[in-house]
Symmetry: C2
Subunit: 422 residues, 2 copies
């Protein structure tokens, strides 16, 4: 068994993946293993392996509790946080990572059975992946807010927007998300925290089909505005695309490539291509960045969300050189953005064939984090991220940068040595 060959295979499969957005449907009907009493959430499992699953509530961060509560109110199963806590603690409501269901969700990532999901199909390797719909900014479920305004928005998205999007996507014949991302990286996006170009490319490509699929021009206008005014509208299909790429690179015997990174607000977790479905976890850090007016670092929740699947697939913080304008949002200078990308080449196995960065002379993005290189160099991945309020019910308070804890990579490397007998 040759690690270099295994890693070349894992990264080639990630890079040659061509995930296409092919449809939209209710999670219950679409997502493998979904059931009515199940909530999907971001990151690794909330409860420790040694504990009963009901302990998940106890370990959940404020924004995760808020999002669970909001989703259960949305499903008509709870009236507030106390109900939600009781349902989770009794085991009546179960919690499982999105990642265990070929899915991903930004921030808390909470996805319930009657929510709609984007359906992506990897045209190269056949695997499917899923993500929920993006709500926009500020007071939103994924950041732990669950006021009536948040729920009204979710209901509109579900009842009005999702059926039209489902028809529009079907009529479009599918959207090649790798091509869309490649274009967006030439338009100042990095694909994680800056998705301005991607979101309007997405809106523009779907617009003719939305105009035809909508029941009337007012609804068409409302949906076009919801997608076009939200600079993150494409984030969720982008994440599902990255999930499809990363999954294609998973399960390669002898590979030290990281195939999952995810945070649940309490723990950061990674999985490694050659080490099966085992999560290596460690407590999350708090991101550093810029706060919205009225908030400070004191208000910040720990790092949370599946959106770090973008860095796993070679974009996001790894492609910051392509997105110098992002520093107005996450702090730093354009030079820092270039340096972030240059540093990531140190820990990556290869350079992306389809994601190139004009400011670096069209060099491919650093792709395929090698656990060995992380441990050897002491350099952990750079992650661009939103920052949630630490309390349930508040929402987003800023955006910034964060690094995963080194302990996970060390633990994974030890496990690799044990598994493969080094």
């Amino acid at each position: 068994m040759d690690i270099e060959n295994a890693n070349a295979q894992a990264t080639e499969r990630m890079i040659e993946s061509r995930p296409v957005l092919v449809g939209m449907g209710k999670a219950l009907d679409i997502v493998p293993g979904m059931r009515e009493n199940l909530l999907l959430h971001a990151g690794p499992p909330l409860a420790l392996r040694s504990e009963p699953q009901g302990k998940a509530w106890d370990r959940a961060s404020g924004p995760m509790r808020g999002a669970i509560t909001g989703a259960l109110i949305f499903e008509g199963k709870a009236k507030g946080e106390d109900d939600a806590q009781a349902l989770v603690e009794s085991g009546e409501i179960e919690l499982e990572p999105c990642h265990h269901h070929q899915a991903v969700g930004p921030m808390a990532g909470v996805t319930s059975s009657s929510m709609s999901v984007y359906i992506l199909e990897n045209k190269t390797y056949g695997n499917k992946s899923y993500s929920n719909l993006n709500e926009g900014y500020g007071k939103v479920l994924r950041y732990g807010a669950y006021s009536e305004e948040v729920l009204d928005r979710l209901r509109w998205m579900e009842e009005v927007m999702a059926p039209v999007l489902a028809d529009a996507i079907a009529a479009s014949g599918g959207l090649d998300m790798r091509a869309l991302l490649a274009e967006a990286l030439h338009m100042g996006d990095e694909g994680h925290n800056r998705n301005k170009a991607g979101s309007i490319l997405f809106t523009t490509k779907l617009a003719p089909f939305i105009a035809k699929a909508a029941p009337n021009p007012d609804v068409a206008a409302d949906i076009l505005r919801a997608l076009g005014d939200n600079a993150l509208s494409v984030l969720n299909p982008v994440m599902a695309a990255c999930k499809g790429m990363a999954d294609a690179g998973h399960g390669i015997e002898g590979s030290t490539i990281v195939s999952t990174m995810a945070r649940n607000g309490t723990d950061f977790g990674i999985r490694v291509s050659g080490l099966g479905d085992h999560w290596f976890t460690a407590p999350v850090a708090v991101p550093e960045g810029l706060y919205f007016p009225g908030f400070t670092a004191e208000d910040a929740s720990g790092d949370i969300g599946d959106s770090v699947i973008t860095e796993t697939a070679g974009i996001g913080g790894f492609a910051m050189a392509s997105a110098p304008a992002i520093v107005t949002f996450v702090s730093g200078t354009p030079k820092d953005a270039v340096n972030a990308t240059l540093e990531m080449y140190e820990i990556c196995s290869t350079e992306h064939k389809y994601f190139s960065m004009p400011p670096l002379d069209f060099r491919g993005t650093p792709t395929g984090i090698d656990v060995r290189k992380v441990v050897e160099t002491g350099i952990t991945p750079r992650v661009n991220t939103g920052i949630a309020h630490k309390d349930a019910g508040v929402g987003q308070v800023g955006a910034g940068l964060v690094r995963p804890p080194m302990a996970m990579f060390e633990e994974a490397l030890v496990a690799f040595a044990q598994t493969y007998g080094y």
Copy 2:
């Protein structure tokens, strides 16, 4: 009279201009001085001052003749090139520069009385400016093509698209083009040859209003596709915005700032803020760049179009540092793009307050070409441009870079010295 003060005033007026797209209407009803037997065209006057106007045909380049012919067929006044020639030579059809009518048009820039134009209002200084609609790529009137396919497209634009756009723009309450351009420059556009981001920003902002204004969903879809699939759909309103800015900076006593640059395919012409409406002209160069498959430099027409109004206002070739990906279209490397911008600081009076470039640490674009500096440094402006086929009826064959002839700047400086008694 202090030249520095005059130039500061001229450039401040250009920069503080805030042109807003407020409407659309038929040129005959809207454009000052428009009449039924008049065609507007790009650049300085075609006929020499000493010659009768009918000589314009003789001096017109292939693409200009093609566009004149197409416009006269469109207006039902000609059946082909022979008719067009006869009408122009007899004086029955008159030709005047767009610039003499507060208007601009890309490439041949030919605008006839029944064509629709974008209406822009400079909210700071009150002046209005106009531009025709963009047809897309390849075989299009502005590049001198006039086949039935070209004319069908023009008729569809006029009969179907323009009325919907007129209603949509009115319902939108107006689009701030300076804000749109500032955003597009942070998304890899330079605003002249690369308008990918600007065009989808434009499409996205108008989409909800188009969905409502269209007579039915099929028409809405067709218009959304026409705007969204054309990476130059925003070029014409961008040019009109730059015209509004440049006009606001024109007519400042004692200023050596260039307030107009334009080419008609035969001559390049400039006007200077402190030198009234006099055109300084010289024969155009042929652009250098990349050719579409099947074409070479042998096929190229001389430099043509009013689109160099973008460079006059501080974007386009002057903002290339913001658009490293453009080099795939116009040739060169991302480093060349940065150098192009850095060189333009040498001949400009100031840096733009609202147009900033992330790759240069958000430095403002070089703005306000100073005739003195051009002559003193020997550096002429850098212009990004499309390349037309030299023959009437063909269309676009490539894109590249070009510089205006130095002779005009020298002549203007001499005239300035004479006028102001230096």
